[in-house]
Amino acid sequence: MAELKERLQRLLTEEKRDKRHLISLLQEIQQEFSYLPREVMLEIAWFLGVSPSTVYSVTTFFNQFRFTPVGKHPIRICLGTACHLAGGKLVLETVERELDIKVGGVTADGQFGLERVACIGCCALAPVMTINGDVYSRLTPLKMEEVLTLLKSGGESERK
């Protein structure tokens, strides 16, 4: 907790003490902690002199904000238009089945998190996903299973 406060103080600089910076502050904090811990949101409310409910209303409005930590390997599956038409949903269902988690969830061991994203601009390679920032393209349920098996065994999967 003390450590959390310290990391937070570094982000809450004086020039940010203005209501209009609420969203950018939240973004920076999420970048630092990978999610928005409850205590941190209260701290920001106090810092900016707004009510906790104002902070909560903004964080729940925007898709970017999350209230639980992400897994060690966040799996981000694209369900933009091109990826949807190329069967992205089947890939998503494969992950849900194999890891027994739903979108937004994290596996019990904290290893994998699952998220859906909209178009990452690789429509030519649809369907695609990113894991730890690496792009995997032209996925099928079978290919997805192979990637998961490799990652579970701790091996770096071959890209693409």
Binding site: T81, L85, L90, E93, G121, C122, A124
Partner: protein, 629 residues
């Protein structure tokens, strides 16, 4: 430094790079290139050059929009032709260095074509028939210059329009824009000159200039490509706007999901400031202008003008009723000009080449060019930039290369979640603001998804509605609840629970949502549904009356079946690979799918060897012979 001196310096550097003695290797490293592995190619070139002690420079450039060719590499060699290579992987790099950097073999077997003049063997890219139809304006430098070096921009004419504009009276700039006929590229097509004039005349100070780079359509990425490949042209347009309107503060609202575009914009802002194009006393005049980046937090509705301004203020981005219009009372209640990325790009072009020139491009009421993101079942996925008024047929067949794998063209979805689906019979429709609206679609974001016989139109309508329903901000009841109701009905139809009256219900709901919503999100949300009902009525009927999905997409309406006559009994691929162990061998070693266990993931169809091709999808599922139940 004066502008003349900057220009001289930039040109000298450009000439020595592009026309100098040392070969130049350009690698496209925009997001799409990176996804295809472009950074590994850059690294491979750098290593190989050192290893072979070759003289060559590697430069990272943006994206030409030819996504299907990524990673794309261009080699520029003194006194020889410039060659573009497609789909280059690190293991091809030694061959290119050996062949064309050290030797004189242009490795044409790896080439997409040459730039500026072919040699008979290789095609010349600018002469490709698609570029005849693509006189590029917005993207003319994309993929050729280093977006992280302002000198490349200046050397190719950049910032000279700003210099010219600073010597023009503000009303002259605005009257040029009005005469040019430019309309906003953010989707709705509001006349730009008129907007600028309204904002210029508005009372109240300070005034703000905002660039909308939120690009929320889940299938469009042209604004990102422009910002990643040639960011200064957007800044130049914004600075001119600041000067014309008497504003000193600009904002660029950009999606957080575009980290590379943000990075390159930051570099561009710093360099523009360093060279005196931005900041205090621009180019020695009394005019000062500053630009801040604001990154969006992932809500589609934030792209709507009034909602976007709220987000910059640090609030929930919920649209508000107009009037007052943003040009009079926008950001913090002050007069605010908001334009799309591409709209700002046109401004320096119009200043440089004149309103008369610009108004010769395009149609009577839609001027200039438009960029579309071609995706789906099209051969040449990527970005295309065509004059307004180009027909869909030219776009899809002449430029896009038609449908992949010889499949049958079914229709397109144009304009993203606000747009519509159009059938083959409307292929002669010209793409411009008015013709598309008349057909029930919209220019919208410029997303253009091509669909073939394997795509289900009902499912496509459901997909878009699912998106808008989730993204509705909830302020207007018709939008919040209406889209949910429509979605429920569509979910029923794709699951085989639809009733024939549902189609009328959808139309009725769609019209109510359109009429009862405040902002463009609700007003256009039903377009994908209404157009599919209008043009693909038979597909709805098949789902509802026959419980059949003609494209074999909707899961509840299909079943997988292994044709006994085709099944090579010794092979066990499907049995071994089925993730839920739904396939078994009977006593004759015929494979049978247990339909109660099958999750319809399609793996069996994927792994069944091509020479057997024994797995098929059937719709309705009742077509599966009984004994397999």
């Amino acid at each position: 430094m004066t502008f003349k001196e900057i220009q001289k310096l930039a040109r000298a550097e450009w000439d020595s790079l592009y026309y100098g003695e040392i070969p130049l290797i350009l690698v496209g490293t925009a997001t799409c290139g990176r996804a295809a592995g472009a950074l590994a190619v850059v690294e491979a070139f750098e290593k190989e050059i050192v290893r072979r002690k070759a003289a060559a420079r590697v430069i990272q450039v943006g994206c030409m929009g030819l996504c299907y060719t990524e990673p794309l590499v261009t080699i520029i060699k003194p006194k020889s032709f410039r060659v573009c290579y497609k789909n280059i992987t690190p293991d091809l790099v030694p061959r290119l260095v050996e062949g064309y950097i050290l030797g004189d073999d242009p490795c044409l077997e790896l080439a997409l074509g040459t730039l500026a003049g072919g040699n008979g063997e290789a095609i010349s890219i600018p002469e490709l028939s698609r570029f005849e139809k693509e006189p590029r304006l917005i993207m003319r430098r994309c993929g050729y210059i280093n977006p992280e070096d302002i000198k490349h921009y200046v050397a190719s004419g950049g910032y000279s329009s700003l210099v010219r504009a600073l010597q023009m009276p503000a009303r002259e700039i605005i009257s040029q824009l009005k005469r040019s006929g430019l309309r906003g590229m953010g989707g709705a097509g509001f006349p730009t000159g008129e907007k600028w004039e309204l904002c210029q005349k508005a009372k109240g100070k300070p005034k703000y200039v905002i660039c909308n780079a939120d690009e929320g359509d889940p299938g469009a990425f042209m604004d990102r490509v422009v910002l990643e490949s040639d960011p200064h042209q957007v800044l130049e347009g914004m600075i001119i706007a600041g000067y014309a309107l008497g504003s000193s503060q600009g904002y660029i609202y950009i999606r957080a999901e575009y980290p590379l575009a943000i990075k390159r914009l930051k570099i561009a802002l710093d360099q523009a400031q360093e060279y005196g194009f931005l900041g205090k006393n621009i180019l020695g005049t009394v005019f000062s202008f500053y630009i801040e980046l604001e990154s969006g937090a992932g809500a589609f509705v934030s792209g709507e003008a009034t909602a976007l301004m709220r987000a910059i203020e640090g609030k929930r981005s919920i649209p508000r009723a107009r009037p007052p219009h943003s040009v009079e009372a926008g950001l913090w209640g002050k007069p605010t000009l908001l334009n799309n990325v591409k709209t700002f790009v046109f401004v320096p072009l119009i200043i440089a080449r004149g309103a008369d020139w610009f108004s010769t491009i395009g149609t009577e009421r839609s001027k200039g060019t438009a960029i579309f993101a071609l995706a789906g079942k099209i051969t040449n996925t990527g970005l295309v930039e065509v004059p307004m008024g180009t027909t869909l047929r030219e776009l899809i067949f002449d430029i896009g290369g038609g449908i992949r794998q010889g499949k049958l063209f079914k229709g397109i979805q144009i304009g993203g979640p606000s747009g519509g689906c159009l059938p083959a019979s409307l292929l002669e429709t010209p793409v411009d603001f008015d013709s598309l609206s008349k057909a029930g679609a919209m220019m919208g974001s410029g997303g253009l998804i091509v669909m073939d016989e394997d795509n289900c139109m009902v499912d496509t309508a459901r997909f878009f509605l699912d998106f808008t329903q989730k993204e509705s901000c909830g302020k207007c009841t018709t939008c919040r609840i209406g889209t949910k109701q429509m979605l429920d009905v569509l979910e029923d139809i794709v699951a085989g629970r639809g009733k024939i009256e549902d189609m009328d219900l959808l139309v009725e709901l769609g019209e109510d949502i359109r009429d009862g919503s405040l902002c463009g999100l609700g007003r256009t949300a039903s377009n994908p549904v209404l157009t599919t009902i209008r043009y693909f009525h038979d597909e709805y009927e098949a789902h509802i009356l026959e419980k059949r999905c003609p494209a074999l997409v909707c899961k509840e309406l299909i079943a997988y079946y292994i044709i006994p006559e085709k099944c090579e009994k010794g092979c066990e691929h499907c049995v071994l690979n089925c993730p839920v162990k739904a396939i078994s061998s009977d006593e004759r070693r015929l494979k049978i799918i247990d339909q109660t266990k099958c999750t319809k993931c399609g793996t069996c169809l994927e792994v069944c060897p091509a020479e057997y091709n024994a797995v098929v999808k059937l719709s309705p599922p009742t077509l599966v012979p009984m004994k397999e139940g």
